[in-house]
């Protein structure tokens, strides 16, 4: 077989494997989806029941009526969006500063920032709560959002990505008399679309899933986030798992939507043509 033919078959095989791998990856999802329309007693039937006897679509409205799910969804959405926005702006700025500038103690700053990711959140829960309280950020949206608005993860990500952007871009803009912030806004950010897309997606997902911090900082039922609502559906030793699965399926939709939205950012090949090396 010719080299080209081999490559073509290799390509087809890879595609086939990709799709097969998909099947494995998606099996848990399929079980979740099918469980969401089973009756309560069918969910944990063993051996596994793949399809319910009769699809119980009523599980969805039932699940969402337990506790104020529309409110929980709204709260999770607000928190996820706001924190995502905060991270996108502040992390990209910090990443830029840490990678394209030199100032004293720069590396120390970077290590300090990294170190904030190294302690498990449980141990800083109570001190963080006290700090939030000092700022009046307890039991309101501010408390849910502000303490999470910047995360070292984003800073690290953006720093690594911006590092690789050619300095010549920046120098050219300076020569043109562009202000520093202008350079950031008009040159750097547009060239960071893939990283910003990745950061947006991951930050949104992480904060949609916030459980422990909202539990501690808010007590009002109207401020609970979606995972808190989900956890509440479990009693001491009994739970309506079919309804929990239904609620969980609905809970996945926003993250999936955000992913599809930011798909365009993962477009191949940033055109850097017209640039003199």
């Amino acid at each position: 077989m010719s080299r080209k033919g081999l490559l073509r078959w290799g390509g087809r095989l890879t595609t086939a494997l990709t799709v097969a791998g998909l099947g494995l990856v998606l099996l848990p999802y399929f079980w979740m989806l099918s469980s969401s329309v089973k009756t309560g007693s069918e969910v944990f039937d063993l051996p596994i029941k793949w399809l319910p006897e009769a699809a119980q679509w009523g599980n969805y409205p039932d699940a969402l009526s337990r506790g104020k799910f529309p409110t929980y969804f709204f709260n999770s959405a607000v928190v996820a969006f706001a924190v995502m926005a905060g991270n996108l702006v502040f992390c990209s700025m910090a990443g830029y500063g840490l990678s394209k500038f030199r100032f004293p103690w720069r590396e120390a700053c970077f290590r300090l920032i990294l170190s904030t990711m190294m302690l498990p959140i449980e141990i800083i829960l109570v001190p963080t709560f006290l700090v939030a309280r000092e700022f009046g950020l307890v039991n309101n949206y501010g408390g849910l959002i502000v303490p999470l608005a910047v995360d070292a993860f984003g800073i690290f990500l953006m720093r690594q990505y911006i590092k690789d952007l050619p300095d010549s871009l920046i120098e050219a803009a300076r020569l043109d008399g562009c202000g520093e912030f202008g350079i950031f806004w008009r040159i750097i950010l547009p060239n960071c679309k893939p990283a910003l897309g990745a950061l947006a997606l991951l930050t949104f997902r992480d904060n949609w899933d916030q459980f422990l911090w909202p539990l501690i900082v808010a007590s009002k039922d109207t401020l609970k986030t979606f995972p808190l609502g989900l956890a509440q559906m479990e009693g001491i030793d009994s739970a309506a798992y079919h309804e929990i699965m239904a609620a969980a399926v609905v809970g996945m939709i926003p993250t999936a939507l955000v992913f599809l939205l930011f798909q365009r950012a993962f477009v191949r090949g940033i055109a850097l043509s017209g640039l003199k090396e």
Binding site: L26, M93, I123, V126, V131, R174, F259
Partner: protein, 319 residues
């Protein structure tokens, strides 16, 4: 084809240039250009830095301080010196948790480093239905953590999906979450299942930043796919690779929801990762001071590990 097609790191022009170059009065005329740039850099970092200092670093200092106190959450802390450290050193449960965490960390990260890159390369190719296939592969991270725990617990049931599938390949029925030898590997598998799409997204972003032109140039020079990978992709992807290596360890070290929900740290403590030990000791056993001490040990370990990684990869021209 020895040289890479990426602009070599060493040949990059310095960030600051000739002081004598005239510039617009963006920052006022007094400061030299170098000083102006220094300030600009710092100001870019400042907002994030302030935020982290207030909401993360200060609480961390508090936790460090608490590690020298006896604190049960409900009554005021009492100074304790190094007794907390002594207590956890003498606690076999702490040692067990430390090793469980170490095993978990490396068990999850190492596969992630390679498999996530493989996934990203795979999804970078043009194929029919690409957006949907990508979405499907990234779905594991869209699932809420609690739901992941519930679903996988059911899948690991002796009569569940995992054993059914393995049965097709002739592997006998294992009681994954109830046997001491298999419980931790079972949890590691879940960590990897979730981690690969997550880091795949990041690798994908990194791959997107490599300009087509370099690949085209390499192909023209006769480079095959493997050589393109080694001489174009890898060097340019280095910052991303460093990120993934550091971050996968950092996020693996903080995991504790799955062991909490799926096995409660069992059987016999074989899945009690260090954050679980810390959470339990602090909030369930009311010994916050000891929990803080354990956190400090964890912190020192992770910080050290990260510094080593940063240094090692600096030699590869990344820093």
């Amino acid at each position: 084809m020895a040289e890479s097609y990426a602009p070599a790191a060493k040949v990059r022009p310095k960030a600051g240039f000739d002081d004598r170059l005239p510039l617009g009065a963006a920052w006022g005329g007094r400061l030299s250009l170098r000083a102006r740039l220094r300030w600009a850099g710092f100001l870019f970092v400042l907002p994030a830095l302030l935020h982290l200092l207030i909401f993360k670093f200060y609480p961390m200092l508090e936790a460090a301080r608490l590690s020298f106190f006896r604190y049960d959450l409900l009554t005021p802390p009492v100074f304790n010196g190094l007794l907390n450290y002594k207590a956890i050193w003498e606690n076999p449960l702490f040692h067990q948790s430390f090793w469980v965490s170490a095993k978990y960390m490396f068990g999850v990260s190492l596969p992630e480093w390679f498999l996530a890159l493989g996934l990203a390369l795979l999804l970078n190719r043009r194929m029919p239905g690409q957006p949907l296939i990508r979405l499907a592969y990234f779905l594991p991270i869209a699932m809420s953590q609690i739901v992941v725990a519930m679903v996988w617990k059911f899948m690991y049931n002796p009569l569940g999906l995992v054993n059914t599938l393995l049965g097709f390949v002739g592997i006998g029925r294992t009681n994954w979450l109830s046997t001491e030898e298999t419980a931790l590997p079972a949890l590691i598998a879940i960590g990897v299942w979730r981690g690969i799409p997550l880091f795949g997204v990041i690798y994908l972003a990194g791959l997107q930043s490599i300009p087509k032109e370099y690949y085209e140039a390499a192909t023209i020079d006769g480079a095959g796919p493997w050589q393109r990978f080694v001489h174009v992709t890898l060097p340019l992807l280095m910052p991303t690779i460093l990120f993934v290596m550091v971050m996968s360890l950092l996020s693996a070290v903080k995991v504790f929801l799955n062991p909490l929900v799926m096995t409660e740290g069992g059987p016999n403590g074989t899945t009690r990762v260090l954050p679980y030990f810390i959470y339990e000791t602090g909030f369930a056993y009311y010994r916050m001071g000891e929990a803080a001490a354990a956190s400090m040990v964890l912190f020192a370990f992770v910080f050290g590990l990260t510094l080593i990684q940063l240094r090692l990869l600096r030699r590869g021209g990344v820093e």
